[in-house]
Symmetry: C2
Subunit: 278 residues, 2 copies
């Protein structure tokens, strides 16, 4: 056995944890806790929140008022009995000693735990995140620089196609309809389904995919899947208005240099020809 390749180290295992119908215990109700509540709600979990009402952040209060999936206890952490039936624990309180105790209790019980601001008491970290419908992106600098993670997040936000979230939603629907039409797990039909879906995603732009409606999906399956081809959006009665918009923006960014060059050309030629005349 040889030594490890140096690039194969120093990172984390990035995961999309599934929390549907699971219970997450959040201890603390401040600024950090309110962010955790949002992330956990997005993942369809039930939340048990333990935090004295006096210290609740306005956003935490808002979640309590508007979300039926939170069970709230107006008190501090009371001991091991609070961990019964819990699938994950997130703490965000100022008391370092209590935080460490909670972490130890969780580890005895093999409950995944994150203690804000105490990395050794974390089974996992959070990162800078982007969400657009079913699209979720996480940026982690593995604890090196939260600020650079945020700067990179903003750059990424600027380069994700505007309608990516809708496109993913629609492609998910198309995939379900295709599975109904050509059912079966794995095998030849599974492979053919996968190939055709890849062809659709490669042939159509993201903003075209976002325009798919029930009618177009039915025609795409009739005229595409059944004939093992991928028609263009225009062939299905769709108009790619959004894509046209993108092209015109690109074109307009070239107008100014072209115009300036044109004027400079006029000026130079006029100068040369008019000078020669005399």
């Amino acid at each position: 056995m040889a030594a490890d390749t140096p690039s194969l180290s120093g990172g984390s295992l990035l995961l999309a944890w599934q929390l549907k119908d699971k219970t997450v215990l959040i201890i603390g109700g401040g600024d950090v806790a309110s962010g955790r509540i949002e992330s956990v709600l997005v993942a369809d979990a039930r939340i048990t929140l333990i935090a004295p009402r006096a210290g609740l952040h306005p956003l935490t209060k808002q979640f309590l008022d508007t979300c039926a999936r939170i069970t709230y206890h107006d008190r501090v952490f009371a001991g091991p009995q609070d961990l019964e039936g819990v699938d994950m624990v997130l703490t965000a309180i100022d008391d370092v000693e209590v935080s460490r105790q909670i972490c130890a209790l969780c580890r005895e019980r093999k409950i995944p735990v994150n203690v804000a601001d105490i990395p050794p008491s974390c089974d996992f970290y959070f990162g800078s995140q982007i969400r657009s419908g079913p699209l979720q992106i996480m940026i982690s600098t593995n604890g090196r620089s939260p600020k650079l993670a945020n700067i990179i997040r903003k750059k990424i936000e600027g380069c994700i196609p505007e309608h990516a979230g809708e496109a993913i939603e629609k492609v998910g629907e198309l995939r379900s309809k295709l599975k109904e039409r050509a059912p079966g797990v794995g095998g030849e039909v599974g492979k053919r389904r996968m190939r055709w879906m890849v062809d659709v995603c490669s042939s159509w732009d993201m903003d075209e995919l976002a325009l798919l409606d029930d009618n177009m999906m039915a025609r795409l399956l009739d005229e595409g899947w059944e004939k093992n081809t991928v028609p263009r959006i225009q062939d299905l009665g769709g108009h790619n208005k959004k894509a046209a918009g993108v092209h015109s923006v690109r074109a307009s960014s070239l107008l100014l240099p072209t115009a300036l060059g044109f004027v400079a050309g006029i000026a130079c030629t006029a100068a040369v020809l008019l000078t020669r005349r005399h």
Copy 2:
């Protein structure tokens, strides 16, 4: 309590799972398993691999030959005893029945498990990933469209600053040096450290941060931190060659339209003036 906000659902909880000094059991040695091995090695875990040698993917064999952190067993999964001392289980085998049994054994033992291709047997999913040194990015479409996740990954790769990974590495070093110079957890000094690091990351470009060496970091702390300011890279004896490169690329993209405009201007003026002469 009101109904849930619709945007607060349908997602996953994206996490950076910590595996340093943990043991991950990977069952299966094919194509999918080789990808899992790489992701897990990046996170500094030890791996136990169980898979008959006959079915090993070339990449899996390569990892076995080059990486000291893998313990290999040339056989199939043998039962509960294989799960002793294991912190996470990833299976990628064709046998659906055995996969489901492994999942059930893991859940009894509260070991996080992912069974490739059987979503209900997964506590977590993997996503499309980007890695550049300490920078890790995951793109998840929550199972809707792996192909669109890949397309988005490529778009994101194209818009991340070239030297982002190095910049993050250097900022991490600078932060450690600053903590040595101005130690203490939390409180006023912690806040001042955080503010100054944010100022540095906001004032310098990513490619400037990537150029930081030991000497420049020492000067940045002496002339910046100590005086509560952020000097420019030029003030510390650095040259921003990379940034200059970026600007010249941008400028060159305007050359063609300008030149074409110039030629058109010459042609039009010459035509007008020469026609008039006669």
